[in-house]
Amino acid sequence: MTQAEQERRFLEKIEKEIKIEPNDWMPDEYRQTLIRQISQHAHSEIVGMLPEGNWITRAPNLRRKAVLLAKVQDEAGHGLYLYSAAETLGADREQLIDDMHTGKAKYSSIFNYPAVTWADIGTIGWLVDGAAIMNQVALCRTSYGPYARAMVKICKEESFHQRQGYESLIKLCNGTPQQKAMAQDAMNRFWWPALMMFGPSDAESTHSDQSIKWKIKRFTNDELRQSFVDATVSQAEILGLTIPDPNLKWNEARGHYDFSEINWDEFWQVVKGNGPCNKERIAARLKAKEDGLWVREAANAFAKKRAMKKSA
């Protein structure tokens, strides 16, 4: 079959909403785009464990501690689903991880902001996981089969992440004035970084057009960002928290909330590695890889020994 014929058949599948599976022919650029996006997504799940993991030993009670532990464990699982999906495209898992460590591959910028109070943990569940869900629900219909299946699993598990965060904030917002103030402070620091999670504006987004055509992405960055703002405003009202944007207001004609322009300088600074925690996060991942080396080696040695005994 000629390349042109292969390509025609590929596009026909995309057109008819038939999923692309690992051994199917696909354009190189489709494969590379998916590897970049899926690995970046996997890295985000793994790095995302760091700000929350830091609070497991400091959770205010056993219930919150068990919940946080379960959530962080979920994130590790989500990272694994995604690395596996990337591997089906021929990517090498170790290489992908090393690419994150050298800064060649990115992860979500949100995790380069510190979690400095307990209210940050609730806010991360509510806003950060909320924004992630908005993005991930859309990706359940992505055109690449293994990625779509990973997303379905992740979305099922993720909704508890958002709800536990919101529940935790409800407690704080109905608590002492100090607790309420702590929640508002977390909101003030996380609102804009959460909106930045959807990526550059459509006008600036280099990969968007082709990704939409190939149905890797089903909605643009700005569309998803708008849906998130629209969904979140009333949730903030119920908490009694103020969204830190003086221009946020309902636009009857558009049927959406208007909001201020994002500080794109800050966005690009953090993407380029100059956020508050970029170096700390990468250092923590490198340390985890190095400190865990003996465990991986021991597991290998043990497996070999047992295999030898069996064959003897």
Partner: protein
């Protein structure tokens, strides 16, 4: 030494008695014991299973995607294998 040396395993889970084991995904592990334990931790955190199979991916043989049309052609042309192929007079019951 890296986890790349750990073979890839495909994971199959029986969600409840009476149903087939179903493919749910893959993972890397140095041996079958750890593959099963990892599969439990990764794929059954919410009571999704009562039984797990792991199979080294290298041991799976599959049909060739490029030959699929020819390979499955014999079954596509035999519509008389389906009950709807046959005409039965109105009024015939229990068939």
């Amino acid at each position: 030494m890296s986890t790349s040396e750990w073979p890839l395993w495909e994971v199959f889970i029986r969600s409840k008695q009476g149903l087939n084991h179903k493919h749910v995904g893959s993972l890397r592990a140095p041996d079958a014991t750890l593959a099963l334990e990892n599969a439990r931790d990764v794929y059954t955190r919410r009571s999704e299973g009562i039984s797990i199979w792991v199979v080294e991916s290298a041991h799976i043989h599959a049909t060739d995607i490029d030959e699929a049309a020819a390979f499955f052609e014999p079954s596509d042309t035999k519509i008389y294998r389906h009950p709807t192929f046959y005409e039965v007079p109105d009024g015939v019951k229990h068939m």
